[in-house]
């Protein structure tokens, strides 16, 4: 019987849907699942976490320390909770938040960590993760008493496993630390879906031509409850913010549906969206390389096809 801790990410006290896949990865033959929560209302998360097999919700606090402003102390508090509840496995989302905290925990405990995992096998302490931005998949064996893994959003299909979750308050003695302090969080202008967790992404490349023109992609994405992405050229040309760049030097995304509009299909772009379930390309050049490595294609002008697609989706 393995005790597995899962670090839960919340926004405004709500458990993000992307956590359900991570909780599912923690399921196994009689595994005891501990949800680690910091800075969120544990009672309010009880029902939804129970649905995915959580037996205990550990609501973690630092003794007087602001864990959100001091990630090193947050890592320390998580380590204290892992020791208290004897959880030898710690899973989290491979988001910027999850990777950051897991890296701090792993470095401090001097234990193995794998990020951006596509799957984990807790019983054999192995994970599968991309090497060379999705051109190959590596299987890694983790040696040691602890096993930490950050799992790519949408990589594991969520499966319910109802359990009764009990809320336990845990206060860790973390002391203080002023070496690193988060001074401020600058909110993004829009409350849109985070690209790396989106189920549907509509992306635009060079021919979009301006910031205003991204509107046609936004309307199309909105019609499917999705998010908008961009190629590096659109970002470098200033049509889109860097935060929505998909690819090697941008975001790694893993949606169910990826629609590439006016994107040629470079290796570096594919590095970011290769694992999407279905890839559709809309391109005016029938010989565009992207058509050789996607699922469906429409040869045409994005300024005609995309609005028509939006209209069709509204039907």
């Amino acid at each position: 019987m393995t005790k597995v801790a899962v670090l839960i990410e919340t926004t405004d006290n709500e458990v993000k849907a992307a956590n359900f896949g991570v909780l599912t990865a923690a399921h196994g033959d009689g595994h005891e699942i501990y949800a680690f929560l910091t800075g969120a209302d544990a009672e309010g998360c009880k029902a939804v976490l129970g649905k995915y097999g959580v037996g205990a919700i550990i609501s973690i606090e630092g003794d007087g320390a602001d864990l959100q402003a001091k990630p090193d102390l947050k890592a320390k508090a998580i380590i204290a909770a892992m020791k208290e509840y004897e959880t030898s496995v710690l899973l989290a989302l491979s988001s910027s938040e999850g990777r950051d905290i897991l890296a701090r925990v792993a470095a401090s405990l001097k234990v193995p960590l794998a990020t951006d995992c596509l799957s984990v096998d807790i019983s054999s302490s192995t994970v599968r993760k991309p090497y060379f931005s999705g051109k190959t998949i590596a299987t890694l064996k983790m040696n040691g008493a602890y096993f930490l893994s950050a799992i790519r959003p949408n990589a594991v299909e969520p499966a319910e496993a109802p359990a009764e979750a009990a809320v336990i308050s845990f206060t860790a003695v973390v002391g203080d630390y002023d070496g690193l302090v988060v001074k401020e969080i600058k909110q993004s202008s829009s409350g849109k879906v985070d690209l790396s967790e989106a189920n549907v992404i509509v992306s635009g490349g060079r021919p979009i031509g301006s910031e205003e023109n991204f509107k046609i992609l936004e309307e199309c994405a909105d019609a499917m409850g999705g998010a908008v992405g961009a190629s590096r050229v659109s970002v470098d040309e200033g049509y889109a913010p860097h935060s929505i760049q998909v690819g090697q030097t941008g975001k790694i995304v893993n949606p169910r549906l990826y629609i590439a509009c006016g994107i040629s299909g470079s290796v570096q772009h594919f590095a970011g969206m290769k694992t999407s379930k279905v890839i559709v390309a809309i391109n005016s050049d029938k010989d565009a390389p992207i058509f050789n490595k996607c699922d469906y294609g429409i040869v045409g002008d994005i300024f005609e096809v995309v609005p028509a697609l939006t209209a069709e989706l509204a039907k």
Binding site: A106, A107, S108, K141, L309
Partner: protein
Amino acid sequence: MKVFVCVKNVPDTAANIRVVGENSFDESIKFLINPYDEYAIEEAARLVEKEGGEVVLVTVGKESAIKTVRSALALGSHRAILVTTDKQFLDSADTAAILQKVMEDDGPADIIFAGKQAVDSEAMQTAYRLAEGLNIPIASDVTEFSVANDKVSVEREIGGGEREIIEMTMPCVVAASKGLNEPRYPKLPDVMKAKKKEVKQIALADLGLTLTSETKLVTLEQVPDRSGAKIIGGSVSGGVAELVKILREDEKVIS
């Protein structure tokens, strides 16, 4: 000011990777500076150009990495240390321990720059382990950097386009993301000068470290590309109608 930059020698992201045997790949392809490390090198160069001091590159890699080290030296760095190993893939804890030892032996720095991720093994943790070993703060995914009054201020990208503003005491580790700066192109005179800059080569065995190897690469598998697209023809309205039907009814990826 003394600044270290961690630079990894990696395959060109545009190169085809061909898996060989259980867990290796055909290395007779082009190697270059890890793309994120280019931002690190640039930021270090700008800092020292402003404040004075020296930029020291540190690479752990095969002997062939010397080519990449030389090209990195043309980007505003002063000298380099190359620790030679016989493997492209090292465990992150081991790499960090090696980097730490080299830096301790060379003498302390005010700031250490690295990349947020190596594009080959994508471990995304070496910089954190190095910082922990040196017992100094670390921020990764950094897109903005400044120094004032012995404090480093960085901006770091987090989910959904939000950014964190972080303050760290010095020395510290800063792991760069795209957007931090626009790396320079080397000019011919810089390339020529780089040939004469000092590169100290140290064999890993001579560092006298005991490495722990927490992770083991068991297998590496090729991921086949998708076969070509099914092209949906006809009029624009007919085409999008058929596409939506496929996405809803056959693929079931939208509702």
